[in-house]
Amino acid sequence: MFLELSNITKHFGEGESRVEVLRGIDMSVEKGEICVMLGPSGSGKSTLLNIIGGIDNSDTGYIAINGEKTADMNEKQLTRYRRKHLGYIFQQYNLIPNLNIKENVEVGAYLSDSPLDVDDLLKTLGLYEHRHKLPNQLSGGQQQRTAIGRAIVKNPDILLCDEPTGALDYNTSKEILKLIAEVNEKYGNTVIMVTHNDAIKNMADRVVKLRDGMIRKNYINESKTAAADLEW
């Protein structure tokens, strides 16, 4: 078991305004899997992703990567955990505006002892010719590709994607999903992707459906579709 989640609960607010966001999540993900988490707004999928990413805490339960439990970690160890194991992609690209594309990717590479070759990666991402441009000179899709580059350049064990296509149009979204699948195939990272786009489940190895803070479905997708062939 590569990633293991056991009895994860989380609530927000107190008293009358207390909301149980996660109500005992148990699941596991194998190394190299693409796991897509689906669910309506408020189902707890982003909160779960943040807990896996070590940027939010659960009330109970634990998360373990290769047997290493995050709940036992202090602030420094959590930072090291994120640095070593995780790559993050958000709906907002959050690129550094006054660094060019290559430098933005290097910001990720700096965190790793054995990063991927930045130029090779830029070529894979189709950004090599734009590498000297600033983020605001690129389209949304290109900016998101840069964000993906920044996340995967350190060759993380797990790539966490929070609505990575949420701000993109149909074609660009497909391009990004294709890229994530390629990266997964090429580098063997485990991908955990949160989305409310139901069609994306078809490219996943594992599909987890959440509602009201509970897993309603958790299954292996036997009929995986190539990202390029997704339709919605």
Binding site: I55, R82, F90, L95, N98
Partner: protein, 750 residues
């Protein structure tokens, strides 16, 4: 791999070039001024301190009413444990230009002189004069000075080691290098001068030097008893109370403390401005920071990253500031001191403490303030950065504003409350800038006003203090008496208080002669905060008697601390005191034998404090004025700019909604205008009050009194300068608002 975030640094510096340059130049200005000052000050203090040994400066001097014979002198030396040196002077008024010249015979053993230009006098009609006195009267080698019955030729320019500050009287509030000077002649030349105003001064050195001022005080108190028991003392000045010797050292040391305070206050304000700027950058870059933290960047890495720009700016400014300080500005400050004091020559010394004070400590202040600000912000979780939720307090309900207020007023109020930390720093910065500005502005009018007040309230145009009783046939002459007691109030300088005996129907000083109480000058009242009925304790100058005097009323005399009592009762009130005859007269008296006049007090004596302060400080005050304006503009601009930047999206959105630039300025700039102008109105009187209090406290450690008064007109002028400076700032802000594009509202918040 080098941290790629470092590549942002030059770009950040370039993209905010104007702002960074302004801050950098301001730092350079402050640090170079401080560095130059500290280097000059410390080098001069060292030269000054060394002069005590090099020129064998006295441990004190006493004056006798007549020349002591050898037996008396040796008796005093033996009983007092001292070596006494004859150090007589003769003081004459110059003709051709108004001044009093105090002439000593050549000195080889005590209080030796430093020759700065020309030659020491060789012929009997030659004199070497003090450098400042020479400069102020355009005297050079070969110039002549006319005295009452002789003409002297200047052979050289000197500094007398016991007159580093040209105090005519050691208890004066301020020296006077314009109307008072000192010089030396050969012994034969000195002897040939008339003896009308000879003073039998003996300087002494202890056989065993005291370790500190406390011991020197004890020793001098013993010595005074020894001398008073053997001769008639007319003066006794231990070195540690002799303003002519110690004032320069005290002033230079005091100036250093003021400069340290000034430097650190400015650095603290700038550090806060920087931390607010950085805080605003962090808010703008919250998403990026959240992502970097989520990706594994540690808090420490980001902290160091955001510290680089302010620290680099400070370090570069410190390097350049120190270079400028050591080269250009130290000579400027040294010249300023040489313009006020008769100091010996000096060498520029590398000053480790100046480096610590101008570089290490400001670096530490900047570091601490910025680290604290950044840490408190970066302590937030990555998630909160990603969500742009950076408020440290949990959001409560939005506070309510009265809906009867027009929406634009409420909008402005919301902007003010949203930016409260910026506005608070703006108010504090504005207060300090105004204090500096006001300090630069009030000085000259205040001194002129003081001078006028002194002139309008003189006891008489001329006061003659006589060695022995004499009569004048002039109808304006009015006889009285005078002696001095010493005030030793805790927290104040020890000082001599003249007590005048005034006749009942005086034409010059009118007060109630009925009671046995004394009448006190207004200067005395103000300095010691006296009220009618209070008791003043004064001490005999050369004895043990103590007098408790009840304040019966006040007499408007702002020029000096003085007490007035009825002439007929004064003998009965102070039977043990040796009194001098005083003649008050509005006209100059010509029928009194010059030999009988011990001293005269005229308008120029009473106004010398203000004259000297104007001469010494005026240049410096202009620098303060300019500095205050620059600081005011800088602080307001930087903070107001942050407010505009922080609200760039909202401004863009209001543009999309159809608001004109004018209306947007009305919202975002007028809020700042309201706070800036409000802070000017509020902080100018506050600054004036604080300056007044500081002056009052500072002057407690000096003898005499100097009234701080500022006309409302000066305060209004300061306000208008502040408003003008703000208008310039507002113009720059208006341009900034104009530059915000409509599309900004649609962009990602980065």
């Amino acid at each position: 791999m080098r941290n790629p975030l470092l590549k942002r640094i030059p770009r950040e510096l370039r993209s905010e070039f104007g702002k960074q340059l302004a801050i950098f130049l301001f730092f350079v200005l402050v640090i170079s001024a401080a560095s130059g000052f500290f280097v000059a000050d410390d080098s001069l203090i060292k030269a000054y301190d060394e002069s005590f040994e090099k020129y064998n400066i006295e441990d004190g001097n006493f004056e006798l009413n007549e020349q002591a014979d050898a037996a008396l002198l040796s008796d005093i030396e033996e009983a007092g444990g001292i070596k006494a040196y004859k150090n007589f002077y003769k003081q004459e008024e110059t003709e051709g230009f108004e001044s009093k010249l105090r002439i000593y015979a050549e000195r080889s053993e005590i209080d030796r002189v430093c020759l700065m230009e020309g030659e020491l006098p060789a012929a009997d009609n030659e004199i070497a004069v003090d450098r400042l006195y020479a400069n102020n009267h355009d005297l050079k080698q070969g110039s002549t000075i006319e005295l009452a019955d002789t003409t002297l030729t200047v052979s050289g320019i000197v500094a007398l080691s016991d007159y580093s500050a040209l105090f005519e009287n050691p208890t004066d509030l301020m020296f006077d290098n314009d109307k008072f000077g000192v010089g030396i002649m050969t012994q034969a030349g000195f002897d040939a001068l008339r003896d009308n105003h000879i003073h039998y001064i003996y300087s002494w050195k202890y056989n065993e030097s005291p370790d500190d001022n406390a011991e020197a005080k004890d020793m001098s108190e013993e010595l005074i008893k020894v001398i008073a028991a053997r001769a008639q003392l007319t003066g006794f000045i231990p070195e540690y109370t002799n303003q002519a010797i110690i004032f320069t050292g005290n002033d230079m040391t005091g100036d250093e403390s003021s400069m340290v305070a000034f430097l650190y206050i400015t650095i603290v304000i700038l550090a806060f401005v920087f931390s607010i700027t950085t805080d605003s950058t962090i808010t703008q870059e919250a998403g990026v920071i959240g992502t970097l933290r989520a990706s594994g960047y540690s808090r420490g890495e980001l902290l160091r990253h955001y510290l680089i720009v302010p620290m680099i700016t400070l370090v570069l400014a410190a390097i350049i500031g120190n270079v400028l300080g050591y080269t250009l500005l130290q000579s400027f400050f040294a010249k300023t001191y040489y313009g006020s004091y008769s100091l010996p020559t000096y060498n520029v010394l590398f000053n480790a403490s100046a480096f610590v004070m101008t570089t290490v400590i400001p670096f530490a202040i900047m570091l601490v303030i910025n680290v604290v600000t950044l840490m408190s912000k970066l302590r937030l979780s990555p998630l909160r950065f990603i969500r742009h939720d950076l408020s440290r307090r949990r959001k409560k309900k939005a506070f309510r504003l009265n809906t009867k207020l027009p929406i634009m007023v409420r909008f402005r109020l919301r902007i003010i409350f949203q930016n409260l930390p910026n506005y608070i720093t703006l108010i504090v910065g504005s207060f300090l800038a105004n204090a500096i500005l006001l300090f630069g502005m009030v000085f000259e009018p205040m001194l002129n006003n003081y001078q006028d007040m002194v002139k309008d309230n003189m006891l008489a145009q001329n006061i003659y203090i006589l060695k022995a009783d004499a009569e004048s046939s002039s109808s304006s002459a009015e006889k009285g008496s005078m002696f001095s007691l010493t005030s030793k109030e805790e927290g104040y300088a020890e000082e001599d208080i003249p007590i005048y005996g005034i006749k009942q129907d005086s034409d010059y000083v009118r007060f109630d002669h009925g009671a046995k109480d004394v009448t006190v000058s207004s200067a005395y009242r103000e300095k010691y905060k006296l009220s009618e009925g209070d008791t003043i304790t004064l001490y005999q100058k050369y004895g043990d008697r103590k007098y408790e005097l009840r304040v019966g009323g006040f007499y408007e005399y702002p020029a000096a601390l003085a007490i007035f009592a009825d002439l007929d009762k004064i003998e009965e009130m102070f039977p043990d005191e040796q009194k001098s005859t005083v003649i008050l007269s509005d006209s100059k008296l010509t029928d009194i034998d010059d030999k009988l006049i011990a001293a005269t007090i005229s308008e120029s004596d009473l106004t010398k404090t203000s004259r000297q302060l104007i001469r010494s400080m005026n240049g410096l005050m202009r620098i303060f004025l300019a500095f205050g304006i620059v600081m005011f503009i800088l602080v307001i601009y930087l903070l107001a700019k942050i407010i505009i930047e922080k609200n760039a999206q909202s401004i863009s959105m209001t543009k999309i909604l159809g608001y004109t630039n004018r209306e947007i300025n009305g919202l975002y700039i007028h809020s700042t205008t309201f706070v800036a102008l409000g802070s000017i109105i509020f902080t100018i009187p506050l600054s004036s009050f604080v300056i007044g209090k500081v002056i009052e406290i500072v002057f407690r450690s000096y003898p005499g009194y100097f009234e701080y008064s500022v006309s409302p007109l000066t305060l209004i002028e300061a306000g208008l300068i502040g408003a003008g400076a703000y208008a310039l700032t507002a113009l720059l802000l208006t341009r900034k608002v104009k530059k915000i594009h409509l599309a900004d509202a649609l962009k990602n918040v980065e």
